[in-house]
Symmetry: C2
Subunit: 347 residues, 2 copies
Amino acid sequence: MKQDNGIAVLSIEEVSEITVAALARAGADEVNAEAVARTVTVAERDGAASHGLFRVPGYVAALKSGKVNGAARPAVKEIAPSVIRADGDRGFAPLTHEAVAAPLADLAKRQGVAVAAVLNVAHFSALWRETGLVAEHGCVALACVSYMPMVAPAGGKAKLFGSDPVSFAWPRPDGEPMIFDQATAARAMGEVQIAAREGKALPPGVGIDADGNDTTDPNDIQKGGALLPFGGYKGSAIALMVELLAGPLIGECLGFEAAEEDNRDGGPPLGGEFILAIDPLRTRTETGRSGFAGSGGSAGEHAERLFGRMLEMEGVRLPGDGRKGRRERVAREGVKIPLALYEKIVG
Amino acid sequence: MKQDNGIAVLSIEEVSEITVAALARAGADEVNAEAVARTVTVAERDGAASHGLFRVPGYVAALKSGKVNGAARPAVKEIAPSVIRADGDRGFAPLTHEAVAAPLADLAKRQGVAVAAVLNVAHFSALWRETGLVAEHGCVALACVSYMPMVAPAGGKAKLFGSDPVSFAWPRPDGEPMIFDQATAARAMGEVQIAAREGKALPPGVGIDADGNDTTDPNDIQKGGALLPFGGYKGSAIALMVELLAGPLIGECLGFEAAEEDNRDGGPPLGGEFILAIDPLRTRTETGRSGFAGSGGSAGEHAERLFGRMLEMEGVRLPGDGRKGRRERVAREGVKIPLALYEKIVG
């Protein structure tokens, strides 16, 4: 670790080491600590600081309070010909993600499409790790989780929905999958916290105050207010879909139920995740329609026509392309975190 | 038909009759004409005028030009254990929807989840008919289609994506499914046309002009401009997902390929549709997690807890609830369309 004016600069190896050590001290066994560390490390490697070391104190708190099982052993089981249930044994989600990705992709390859009903996990990161793991096996993946209430349904004056993120991954023939991963909230709560700390106003449409009135003051949102869904009633409908898929459909809690149950230790609540995998070799057959320019090849080749058109357009990027630039910067400059956070993690 | 000051007032039976007659005159056989008429009639019954009789001249044009097969016989076939291919035989989509809904729901009940790859159809309506048909069989349904380019990807200055609508249906224990159905475009092109006709400005964020600059003038959008996705880059990512699912994944055309191929007869282009069905009795098992308030019952009972919370909130409705009010109005007052449209349809 190098220190520079209140900033700790770490190598990727150090990110992994301090995460594993912090979780082990808080009671996690090796396999659980290392699975979380891989998720934290991938986030820091790709410059997604809000999902990296920043979360480690929360992981530690959830172990210390006993809410999360640091010795979890996920149980993966087929409960229908195209459905896998992955019970996370009250552990952090990354170990279950690593346990379920290959069986889910295998099932999708046998059946064409498969669902993983992920139960009983504490999810505290972005979703592109798990959709990416499924896409590395050649399958299209869609995942969603609910999290705790912070978003008001369209037209409403109080929070009910979680941040309710959705991630979608599309495998590409040469190179990394195209992955997007986005909350259905107009902004991440972390961005609101940062704006409050810096005394900055938010754009209109991001949140409401405790009386349900539109506000651009981040303090209003934090003090009894709520975030709004992205894109008005359409984003609200997608948030509702996420709540249903990651909750009632699979036998897990809704966002507001997660909050009712949670012990407020500062770590992630227990909950569920819906993951869908589709094998594009089983859904696009030789007997697909012909007669248009992109017909005849594979799904992957066809999709590249669209990606190519997008990238020819001035100002357009593919979702996730920003990550590549951030990754290069991190590789060059190392992982930078506030020294206070570093000291909190290493104890 | 009653006439009132330039408005034709029709019964639901008359809506069906004039649609069947118009399609038959243009060359459709009975089963194809009647399937389209059921979709048109359901739209008018629910007050969705833009997807009802308003579309009949387009259906007629696509038959007259020979683009669409008025004697289509859809072929439904399992191509993987959990995937159905429904080839629409170059016909209008409603007959294929009616042919695929029950087999798709049956497959989902056997397997837990199933995909229908719908090819070779001309889709010219909302998507809530087909997700609703699947939900009537007790399954959760998600559907999307691309349509022709009219939306610029986030950051871009020209159209590339279709209106790219998504519909989601959730079956409810007592009564109609909860269904949303929404374009990923910020507004329907029909709304832009109406604003242009009435000389009204659009809100900011809806469209760009031919130079890629933001505009509130509907004429700018129509004259070489483009619509924007709803909700900025997040809506754009969802549009990209729709293009991939309803195109490359199933062996059908992308939005821009539909336009390259289309004969510009004013009717719908040929294309594909992705429909996913999930049986909530196969994804939520007795061994789901317990310990939170909504656990223990069925997925349907659990979801009602969320719907109940939403409806307790001032200003919040469930998606699709507006349709019920419109339906009551139509039942009371009849279906009202411009007399000129009526005359065009009855010839």
